[in-house]
Symmetry: D3
Subunit: 290 residues, 6 copies
Amino acid sequence: MSCLKLGIPKGSLQVATLELFARAGWKITLSSRSYVPTIDDPEIECLMVRAQEMARYVETGALDAGITGHDWVVETGAAVDELSELVYAKQRLARVRWVLAVPEDSAMRDVRDLEGKTIATEVVQITEKYLARHAVKARVEFSWGATEVKVPQLADAIVEVTETGSSLRANRLRIVDTVLESATVFIMNRVAAAEPWKREKAENLILMLQGAIAAASKVGLLLNVHRDDLAAVLGVLPALKKPTISALSDPDWVAVNTIIEEAVVRQILPKLKAAKAQGIVEYPLNKIVL
Amino acid sequence: MSCLKLGIPKGSLQVATLELFARAGWKITLSSRSYVPTIDDPEIECLMVRAQEMARYVETGALDAGITGHDWVVETGAAVDELSELVYAKQRLARVRWVLAVPEDSAMRDVRDLEGKTIATEVVQITEKYLARHAVKARVEFSWGATEVKVPQLADAIVEVTETGSSLRANRLRIVDTVLESATVFIMNRVAAAEPWKREKAENLILMLQGAIAAASKVGLLLNVHRDDLAAVLGVLPALKKPTISALSDPDWVAVNTIIEEAVVRQILPKLKAAKAQGIVEYPLNKIVL
Amino acid sequence: MSCLKLGIPKGSLQVATLELFARAGWKITLSSRSYVPTIDDPEIECLMVRAQEMARYVETGALDAGITGHDWVVETGAAVDELSELVYAKQRLARVRWVLAVPEDSAMRDVRDLEGKTIATEVVQITEKYLARHAVKARVEFSWGATEVKVPQLADAIVEVTETGSSLRANRLRIVDTVLESATVFIMNRVAAAEPWKREKAENLILMLQGAIAAASKVGLLLNVHRDDLAAVLGVLPALKKPTISALSDPDWVAVNTIIEEAVVRQILPKLKAAKAQGIVEYPLNKIVL
Amino acid sequence: MSCLKLGIPKGSLQVATLELFARAGWKITLSSRSYVPTIDDPEIECLMVRAQEMARYVETGALDAGITGHDWVVETGAAVDELSELVYAKQRLARVRWVLAVPEDSAMRDVRDLEGKTIATEVVQITEKYLARHAVKARVEFSWGATEVKVPQLADAIVEVTETGSSLRANRLRIVDTVLESATVFIMNRVAAAEPWKREKAENLILMLQGAIAAASKVGLLLNVHRDDLAAVLGVLPALKKPTISALSDPDWVAVNTIIEEAVVRQILPKLKAAKAQGIVEYPLNKIVL
Amino acid sequence: MSCLKLGIPKGSLQVATLELFARAGWKITLSSRSYVPTIDDPEIECLMVRAQEMARYVETGALDAGITGHDWVVETGAAVDELSELVYAKQRLARVRWVLAVPEDSAMRDVRDLEGKTIATEVVQITEKYLARHAVKARVEFSWGATEVKVPQLADAIVEVTETGSSLRANRLRIVDTVLESATVFIMNRVAAAEPWKREKAENLILMLQGAIAAASKVGLLLNVHRDDLAAVLGVLPALKKPTISALSDPDWVAVNTIIEEAVVRQILPKLKAAKAQGIVEYPLNKIVL
Amino acid sequence: MSCLKLGIPKGSLQVATLELFARAGWKITLSSRSYVPTIDDPEIECLMVRAQEMARYVETGALDAGITGHDWVVETGAAVDELSELVYAKQRLARVRWVLAVPEDSAMRDVRDLEGKTIATEVVQITEKYLARHAVKARVEFSWGATEVKVPQLADAIVEVTETGSSLRANRLRIVDTVLESATVFIMNRVAAAEPWKREKAENLILMLQGAIAAASKVGLLLNVHRDDLAAVLGVLPALKKPTISALSDPDWVAVNTIIEEAVVRQILPKLKAAKAQGIVEYPLNKIVL
């Protein structure tokens, strides 16, 4: 049987990735006795690999495909195909940023102020390219972690990843500039990507992962409306996608079923009520493929 | 930008309140480094305040609105508006009672038996008013907590709050009388309640909180039924709200979609089956605005 | 009031059973101070009883009904009625097997190789009948638990229960034969089963438990399709149950609502999309009675 | 190299046993991947075995020696040598009792009241012998555990083990009679006990275990005393063992060093002070061999 | 038998108090089913009581004695005898301070700056007396807890207890003044204190508690020294208490045994070595009565 | 005041290091709000630094001294002084080894078999020097961790650190060769090491750390012996250090006090008893400076 060798990111993305796969329809089970997880799909073989090392192993073909950050593809310079962004991260469904940060009370305000300084970071290549773009010369030191506590004692500035900035603020650091935006990506070995079976397997996997990501921030909304009020009600609904309008046995009424961002429900619902929608029900979703 | 200063009850109601807000559509995040939570709505500013102190701070305008118990509004005598009951408590979606309780084997059977006795309670004002109503003179002592273990060594009786009575039974106490029924309430400062923007913001918030509370104990029920059996099937469904009946492509059949209390599903489902309903499916709900 | 005395299995099945009852609509609450749980149904009285002892107490009438494994009905030889299988187990919705197992590197390949050997097991009666069927004479020792670690030091082979085989593999054991397949069963005392009220109560309970079990592995799928594509879309859907097709206000389109196994969604969804289904939404279910 | 095969009791005695061995000087390490623990003594090979099964495996020689309860030696009727009592149990350094217990409000007051009744117990043999000694006929049923919750619904009385009686009281049971007193014992296979090397190894092991048990409830007491007050001070000290009196450089004073039960220190110390002892210091002990 | 009714402080001092009693020789066991702990001394009856309420119940004689803070004796104005300070607190063996604190960036620098302001505190009486002493008029509000997060939103200043000041610093508060120093005290009802048996029981209890407190911060030091070097070695040891010097079998050498503060060992040890002390051994202590 | 800037290793050595400092007499407190710990010595300033980065920061003078592994001094090639070995590690008081390991069933038996292969390791420099010494050419890849699970899928061999080898065995790896032995070392910046105050502070710190390490594996032994038996008893005691023999008031008896390895007590005690030693007591130690 054909088989797709797939790298799952170990570490900070691990929990979010396993949950995403579960919602997408694949159960990955980590054994306490082995780092090779089992997956309930005979066509996939998983391996837990650090996000930092993923692109390197996909490039060499040790893995056919993998999930990692765009940042690590750039840092390692690996020649792989980025098939799709999967916009989720450790805490939220969102992109992350690598930022140049300095102590809150530092005088440094601009990348040019770093001339001759020491920068600690986990992404030495990305940082050096960034400095080169700005024609700044500084010493970039590889940091094994806990980078944000290194200033000011051990370094003058850092280049560190952040989702919400809260860890930086907690360490009283100030962001000077964004060095790189990154999201989780689905990468593929170039030879594997050219094999039809592997390519289709990967595309279907991405379709389901995207379906689960889309559903996580959306909900279904079901409501009844008198035909006279239909235009008003539809005017309130976001134009994202045409709602499904179905006939009821009472010909004066229709049922409206639509999908909207959960975050806007609290704004929409009072307006729907004002527009005379009735029996408004919000229900949860597992997956969406529009 | 206008902003509603909202007090969230710290302590026993805290977890239930944060979960309710999450279901209603607002994510409140407690930081381990601060008691000022963040909320994902720029129009609201939250503060964690003890339920006991909430009414006092809403009265003075330090807060525009707050969530607390009706009991503490009464106890503090604060002049605030109670906009809405939100019927949930620590353990259940239900009211609580402040009760007069004595040891199981006590001879006291009636409030009048307390004449000259000592009563320990967290609600000194409520208890004194209650005694006054019954023309009983007794010594009421403020208790800092763990009131139910104070009898008989440190007090003769207590006035204590209870949801299910199980903690009282576990301490071998007997309820003599109900002193006050209470539920969680949404209270508002009277000046703030008169400002249109703040009032509307509060009303919309209450609408969503009520929607989430309503959904927590209800489910959606979807079933197909032959037109010949429709009357029988509808006869089984509770009359709470008219079900939505929609046409199917097969003109002899209709689909019925309705919302019912989860607690009655186990009684209704066997009857629906007996009435020839088919493809009965129960699905979960997030919010309901009927 | 009539009352059904129902035994709930204590131990490895306990958590799964309480969750199943919750999904079916009955909340069973274990008190830390008592082994008699409360249930929110005045017509049922629960008792926590070990699965191994359940059939014995249902046989004598100490309980009207109970949930246990078919294996323990066989082992105890109790004369009870098995009303229904409830296919769930500790970890998965699946049957379990009692297997004859030996060390990976043992020479034993067949039940006949056990002649004269020692077998440790929790099911002495089942094992002795199995050996008798194969005309093998061996010493069967009752094991108080942790049976799989007794070979080779304390026994030559074991008869042990397994869901997935992973615990056996982890202990480097090899399965030689299946001794008994078993599933969770709902059993009833024969006298109680003949009383109409108790019988109907039990049947309704089973209906709801089965409804919850069915829903656990299934999801709802909602999609819109142009009438021209309907046949193609329906061709992709599993034939399990006729989907509900409802009219939309746009007469060229219909909505399809169907229930399918969650495990096949990942195969079906790409095909539905290829067949031009639109607005595909997967939603979770609580109960299903088809 | 010679090797003693030693059974360590798995289950309720396990933690206390491993701690005792550690204090006695042997570190036993349980691996999460195997039930065969490692011990830092090449002359001992450990196996985790249930206390209930220990005597059986020591009798057959699968183990040379083991630690179990005297009760299980009696219950299984195994022909083994009990070399030494090791007076410790799950919670305390004390004996346990198997008692006949009935519901608090039961009319049963004496073993003879059990005639014709049902008794649930884990020790069927011990219970049947006890009934035979009292010429009482009753049905004794094997209980898989949680025996104390079986009365009154599933049995009329139980025979259950207790250290302090608190679990019985918590279940509102009343003790009718003591069936058997038991302590932890070090047992040995009779053939192994006759081999000099194994016997000496076992004896030395017991010496150290006893030394650690003795030290657990005792402390060292060091004090200075003027020769004029020595008799008075010595009069206060328990006569358990002659204290060590050593000369100080000041010839008028001596130092007294003694070992006493920790439980009596609170009574002795005020008296020592009254008798003019000075610089009284209590220090902890690891092992004692008097 | 005579019996001393003793209040044990529930809450923040509870763990430290139970540990102190254990080290002093009394084992107090909290039952999960009752707030009346058991103590292994038939002459003492314990009750868990909040530190805030202790003095009140000792004053009325509901308790003979109790352990609480000096602060709460002052706050309640209870007429009780403070028999002894027991210098320990939640985190450290040290006194606590009630301090007047304001936000770090507040302009208030002195108690007089509080004129007309609002102060939140758990010790309303103490605070009002303090303000009266300084002739400052301010509004003092009772705070149910979490006082340090009330400034600046809900109060202008607070009077709050602190051991190390770290919680205040973490909340960015600045200490303006110390309102009251406090330590844990052993208090006694005045009538009970006049009864010889109860008085002696209390005194002996205090002796042992003090012995355990003294030992917690001290260690024993044992060393050998040549008589020629004795003066030099003794010169290094703190003069706290004369060390015990004992003769060795080699008449040129003596052994020195002394008790010193653990905190100074790291300074003393290098000096002892320089002074030619040999075989220096530090050992732990349980109790000290000098 | 002079101050020693000291690096404490963050990560796997952290817990063991903080415990060691506590036993040596310095309390280091990690704040949850900061990575700069506090230490109860105004002459020391601590910083948590990864063991891998420690030598680099000590070399540059960002730190005066630090605790790290000898391995990381070698790997970074930092020019620092190794003042003292501190023989403790994550699990045990012992050295660690970096070993070359391959899958159990690999054909590789010797470093020369690695020619042309891929080796994953955290210590790239050490590994490359090792290969150069053996004139083997292989590709050495930096591994971010979890190195032992990279063979055989992602690498042919690894160079990994091990204390007991159990993690390697659990991953079914076989050790081919030892690449480097390492222990924890106390390193110092060369300029700082030449400053008398800093040097003496460091030396005293090392003295106390060594004293605590020595005490951890040793115990005190106290026994009485008749002068006639003294020679025999002394013959049994290890010759490590001359025991302290002190006169007792009974001139025929002496007391012997000695320090021995805890691991040999179980062998010595039975012999001491056989040699007629009496009142043998083993007691715990905090620190030893012989």
